[in-house]
């Protein structure tokens, strides 16, 4: 388009008074919009909080979760790395609910199949199930990530072995640390994804205490906040189980 056309098409003559009227009108509308924007921002920031997040934002996080969960594909795996990619110094994060020592002669994983029906399993019971290695880029919600090497039994294998078939059809798995001070809820499709493991080894050695000895969850399709350490209790529910960080304003789903 030539220069001439641009100016011809868009140029017109208007009277001074109609120009002035147009100006006042546009600036008035603009002022109203600015005021509306400021009002909307103030309104949003004065909304009550729900689970640590402003209510409209919490609703949006839940809507995001719904949209993204509906497209979640369990066949999509977190990228797999080789053993030599894995770091030796594995970062420790999150000390809530962590005990200094745990005696595995008395420790039992408590699997609540239903109210009043709890399966109690020793570490040996879990270690004799098929073991898989998971080497992946562990992602913390803070923003850092690290390729780390873990091993244990896939949660799906574990649940199949103990005939938790009706439980597999429920919506959520709830997990608690031994002292129950840290707890997470995980949607069932993510829990049953093949890389999700009940983990007892890191870098081919038993888990260190600060990495969740004797048993922790490794779930590569979630942020680190869901990889609960020092696992004590597992239960199943159709409602969202309480989640430590979701109660403090984070997205409940925390899926990757």
């Amino acid at each position: 388009m030539s220069r001439h056309n641009f100016f011809d098409k868009r140029t017109k003559e208007i009277s001074n008074s109609s120009y002035r009227r147009k100006m006042i009108f546009s600036f008035l509308i603009f002022a109203v919009l600015v005021a509306a924007g400021i009002f909307a921002w103030k309104w949003l920031n004065h909304q009550p909080t729900e689970q640590g997040a402003l209510k409209p934002l919490r609703k949006t996080l839940e809507a995001n979760e719904k949209i993204l969960q509906s497209t979640f594909d369990t066949s999509k795996k977190s990228k797999v790395y080789t053993e030599k990619d894995a770091v030796k110094n594995v970062r420790v994060n999150g000390l809530v609910g962590m005990e200094k020592t745990i005696d595995t002669s008395t420790w039992r994983l408590q699997v609540v199949r239903a109210a009043g029906d709890t399966l109690k399993l020793s570490l040996d019971d879990i270690e004799k199930l098929p073991k898989v290695h998971v080497i992946f880029d562990f992602k913390c919600i803070e923003g850092w990530s690290q390729v780390t090497h873990w091993a244990g039994v896939p949660l799906k294998t574990f649940m199949d072995y103990y005939h938790l078939n009706t439980q597999e059809k429920m919506n959520y798995v709830g997990l608690q640390t031994v002292d129950k001070k840290y707890y997470v809820g995980i949607d069932m499709p993510s829990a049953l994804q093949s890389q999700t493991i009940l983990c007892y080894e890191m870098n081919n050695k038993p888990l260190p205490m600060n990495q969740g000895y004797p048993l922790r969850l490794i779930i590569p399709v979630k942020y680190g906040i869901k990889h609960l350490k020092q696992l004590g209790t597992m239960y199943f529910s159709n409602q969202k189980p309480p989640d430590y960080w979701a109660e403090r304003g984070y997205d409940y789903y925390a899926g990757l």
Binding site: R3, F6, E13, N16, K22, G143, S145, G249, L256
Partner: protein, 241 residues
């Protein structure tokens, strides 16, 4: 003849020649984008703080640290990761929707003709730069936007696309693994997302400087849509056309 002349001049006195510079839709997109992008940058900063590791250094000497403690303190950034995420993942929708509408409008209205750089733009942008820096007097002719603006406003479109893509690569690196792959991986996507944000801030600073320098007539056009063509400019316009 004399009568006609005086009639004409009196008409000119009461009339203004104006150019419809910015269509209403574009003014809306612009003024919605400004606060939304501001919220995105602010909430992004709250998120970035939780792992604020980026810096520019030569050898062992840090030149710029992103960001110094005092900067965070002044803006009340520390310990608001959850808040940052809740705002970021809500306002991101507004940013995306507004961006899509803007691009669709630009395509269908034909406004893209004044926006996309053409074969002269890169040479002319250099001349614009020299002119703006007061090195050369010559200013290349322009339509709605000059060549430097064409390049800048087209670049900002690609930057927006880059932010959305790298954003999704960080947000869902497993489900959108192909997006993460396009970005060169999760860590790379995070760096790109950060650099683009710094880019917006620099764009904003230059933009504000240029708007102030160019003056009121140009600025009010993004509110009213109309820019007054001053008589002397009218003459030069005719000459150039």
């Amino acid at each position: 003849m004399g009568l006609l002349n005086s009639f004409n001049s009196s008409t000119n006195f009461r009339m203004k020649k104006v150019i419809k510079k910015h269509p209403l839709a574009i003014r809306w997109f612009h003024w919605i984008n400004f606060p939304v992008l501001t919220v995105m940058i602010w909430s992004g900063l709250l998120i970035y703080w939780a792992n604020s590791v980026y810096k520019i250094s030569v050898g062992n000497t840090t030149i710029i640290k992103f960001f110094p403690k005092g900067f965070y303190k002044a803006l009340n950034v520390p310990f608001h990761l959850a808040k940052g995420m809740s705002f970021h993942f809500a306002f991101a929708w507004l940013f995306i929707i507004n961006g899509i509408l803007y691009v669709a409008y630009t395509i269908f209205s034909g406004e893209w003709r004044y926006l996309l750089p053409n074969k002269y733009s890169f040479k002319e942008a250099w001349q614009v730069l020299l002119h703006d820096l007061h090195i050369k007097k010559y200013q290349p002719p322009q339509l709605k936007y000059n060549a430097a603006q064409r390049i800048a406003y087209t670049a900002i479109f690609f930057m927006g696309m880059g932010s959305v893509l790298s954003g999704f690569a960080i947000y869902k690196p497993v489900q959108f693994s192909w997006v993460a792959f396009l970005c060169g991986g999760y860590e790379a996507a995070r760096v790109e997302h950060f650099i683009l944000t710094i880019g917006y801030v620099l764009f904003f600073l230059i933009h504000i400087f240029q708007v102030i320098k160019t003056g009121w007539n140009n600025f009010q056009a993004i509110i009213s849509g109309l820019e007054v063509i001053k008589p002397e400019k009218q003459i030069s316009t005719n000459e150039q056309a």
